[in-house]
């Protein structure tokens, strides 16, 4: 196509350019090119979990089960996507061998998780793992090893997944945690309710009460060993505290002839805030756990309920209809300076302070629908994450990243179940429970 003349000219130019470039490069280095990237992608990060190495023959099945739980934990966040083993070019045959990064780049794995499992004398289970950043061709942090009993294998898998999650996201994990909730069965007009506890992923279900008495809204203590809840055992709603390990329970002594409900622990576990209804008026109280002394925090003729402490314990967010409709307010932990924070259209209830401290999750009713939403603690930047006939009662994951809540379906056959959603509004999914479920409360990370 090109004439000889043009070709010649091109070559000359090219040579000139190259020689000049070399001179410029050695004499006067050009300033770096500055580029700003403001658009990225939001998508699950692909990761690969090759089969965990069974370091002795007894560990074969356990290695598979643990690797599966780790992969399910990670993929379940919506932040990660597992790459099918069918796509793998190579695998990790031993825990200590070098990684062929090229093989993992080729299948577009951005993170690689290698693990090994052994079962020693006495059933001692040992799990090791490493995380690799494939494209940086380096290990992300150091490998870790956990030991425990075989019975605790799921918790060990969750701990591995928590560590991997932490390495990649820079946040604490939430897999080694539990959820206490109200298990529901039966039709709407004769619903049986009882307390149940399970791992965050639905495994290891146990019932904490029978279903003879109506029970509502269990709430974990800051250490996860006790649960506050409301029961109609006496015929009236009263607050109970239940010891998770022994299932022993005691009633919280509140004024005779009143109804008490909506309890929550303070972050240090020393105080309980709750509502008392007396004479048709509902107000918020706090009780010092040691002395049993109660202090009334609100005294308006309106409804004040659903209190929740800030993570530092200095403030309480609650709902009140003092303005004429349910709205959210924040006051000092002793009841000082109640300040309204929600101003949007609709009604706001069940506020829960995020463990990170920066957000408040709530239930919003607007135009005949229910939403789970979050706002900053000053009420700004409200975002609704869900919408349905009836969504209610948010609870935060231990790392403040995920919200679990109850969703009830419409109509005579309506039933409730638990859902979770990432605070970005993505990854809405149903949580596995045995039968109907409501009023979830997420525990802190177990230690």
């Amino acid at each position: 196509m090109m004439s000889h003349h043009m070709t010649l000219r091109l070559v000359v130019c090219l040579m000139a350019a190259m020689s000049f470039g070399a001179i410029a490069g050695s004499v006067a280095q050009a300033a770096p090119l500055k580029i700003e990237i403001t658009d990225g992608v939001i998508e699950p990060l692909p990761f690969a979990v090759p089969a965990f190495v069974a370091e002795n023959s007894a560990a074969g099945e356990m290695a598979q089960k643990i690797a599966r739980v780790v992969a399910e934990d990670l993929a379940g966040t919506g932040l990660f996507r597992e790459i099918s083993k069918d796509a793998f070019i190579s695998t990790l045959t031993s825990f200590g061998s070098p990684v062929q990064y090229a093989d993992w780049k080729a299948v577009n794995a951005q993170a690689l998780i290698g693990g090994a499992v052994s079962i020693g004398a006495g059933g001692k289970l040992t799990v090791k793992f490493r995380v690799y950043d494939v494209f940086a061709s380096q290990e992300l942090g150091k490998g870790l090893q956990f030991s425990g009993t075989e019975a605790g294998w799921r918790r060990m898998a969750h701990k591995v997944a928590d560590a991997v999650y932490s390495r990649i996201t820079g946040e604490g994990g939430y897999f080694d945690s539990r959820v206490v909730y109200v298990s529901e069965n039966g039709p709407k007009n004769n619903r049986k309710k009882r307390l149940a506890i399970m791992d965050y992923d639905g495994a290891n279900l146990q019932y904490l009460t029978d279903s003879r008495s109506l029970v509502l809204a269990p709430r974990f203590s800051p250490t996860g060993d006790r649960v506050l809840y409301t029961s109609y055992e006496t015929g009236f709603p009263r607050i109970y505290v239940l010891d998770v390990a022994s299932v022993g329970r005691k009633i919280l002594q509140t004024q005779e002839g009143t109804m008490s409900f909506a309890p929550r622990f303070s972050p240090d576990g020393r105080t309980v805030v709750y509502s008392i209804s007396a004479g048709g008026n509902t107000d918020i109280y706090r009780m010092d756990v040691k002395t049993g002394r109660a202090k009334r925090l609100t005294s308006a003729p309106s409804i004040e309920t659903a209190p929740s402490f800030s993570p530092d314990g200095s403030q309480i967010v609650f709902e009140s209809d003092r303005s004429g409709a349910q709205q959210l307010y924040i006051m000092g932990a002793s009841g000082s300076d109640p300040t309204r924070i929600s101003f949007g259209q609709g009604r706001y209830g069940t506020p829960v302070w995020s463990p990170r401290g920066d957000l408040i999750a709530f239930t919003k009713q607007s135009k005949g629908r229910f939403h789970i939403g979050v706002m900053r603690v000053d009420g700004s930047e409200e975002r609704l994450l869900t919408a349905s006939f009836l969504d209610e009662g948010p609870t935060w994951s231990p790392n403040g990243r995920v919200i679990m809540f109850m969703r009830e379906t419409q109509g005579a056959s309506g039933a409730s179940s638990l859902y979770s959603v990432d605070i970005s509004g993505r990854n809405l999914k149903r949580v596995r429970t045995n039968g109907g479920a409501s009023d979830p409360s997420w525990s802190p990370l177990q230690n």
Partner: protein, 363 residues
Amino acid sequence: MVNTGYYISGVGHAGLIGLLLFGGMPVSDPDPIEVSDVSIISSEEFAMLIATSVPPVTDSVEPQGLQQPEIVEDAPDVSEVADTPPPVVEPDVTESEPPDDAPVAPEITPPAPDVTIEIEPVIAPPSDPVTPVIPTVPTAVRPQVRPAPRVAPVPVAPPEPDVAVDDVVRETAVPDAVATEQTPEDQATAPQEAATRIVPEDEQAQQTTSAAPTRSARPRSRPSRPNRPNPSTAQTNNNAAAIAAAVAAQASSAPSGPPLTNAEENGLRRAVSECWVVDVGGRSANVSVTLGFSLDRAGKIIGGTLRLIRSEGASGAAADTAFNAARRAVLRCQKGGYKLPVDKYDHWREIEMTFNPEKMRIK
């Protein structure tokens, strides 16, 4: 209606008297005990409950149900004696109605792992020079933002129903006159569907009903669309690319050439953007990081030059995470080398790239 209630009540009472008088229920019945096992306690007693573990007051009626199974200790188990695994109730998801028996006290909390040891890293082999080919994503025009599993700068239409999601776009092989066996490679694939922003559920649900609370879309500005590089360029070798670049820049006689045009800069910007995965819900989304690196003439990052210049917005794990994500972006999307005009090499051999997630961030 009401008479029915009376009838039921009457039958119930008669049955009750019968039960009480004539021996009552089988051994397992005395439910009344359980109703009576909670009492009002004083504050001291409440404090005691908080401070100490109280024996269970709720007992299963079955005698064997009262037996506490062995608790597996949380302490490091150095013993050679086999542990008795505690009974763990696995939820049976196929069962529609859970057993409604009294609560079980045993082993509510599975044992925790007890030992945590750090493991030294393996010495990694030199990184393999092979890099996977990551496709440029075709543009799709979509009138309304719809939810998609992926949010990207450029929307991607959902794949045809029978097309697998893949990172590489492959056309289905056109069968020759002579039929050949179709290999998996031949299956058509498409990049994963992408929206340009997160579409929350309420918006999804309300797009038809318009009963949703109002929520404004996050404003998006997009760099002016650059000239797309000719796809065939990617297939040619570096010399040919250099010549082509020189041809494009032939008007210039200055060896280092003029600065990059907006279009050229945008090409680089967009190439990296496609690989920058932002965790918008994470704290790392508060961090702006600036990386420095050197490119060779082929547009590939020279080993060992990639470094963090600065980060703003947070420190610690969030900053590390932001750096890692930015590093993955530039390494993953360099493919065979960023496509930049060779005659302007001195303008792009050193790059400072800032990753600012402010616009992406959920608030």
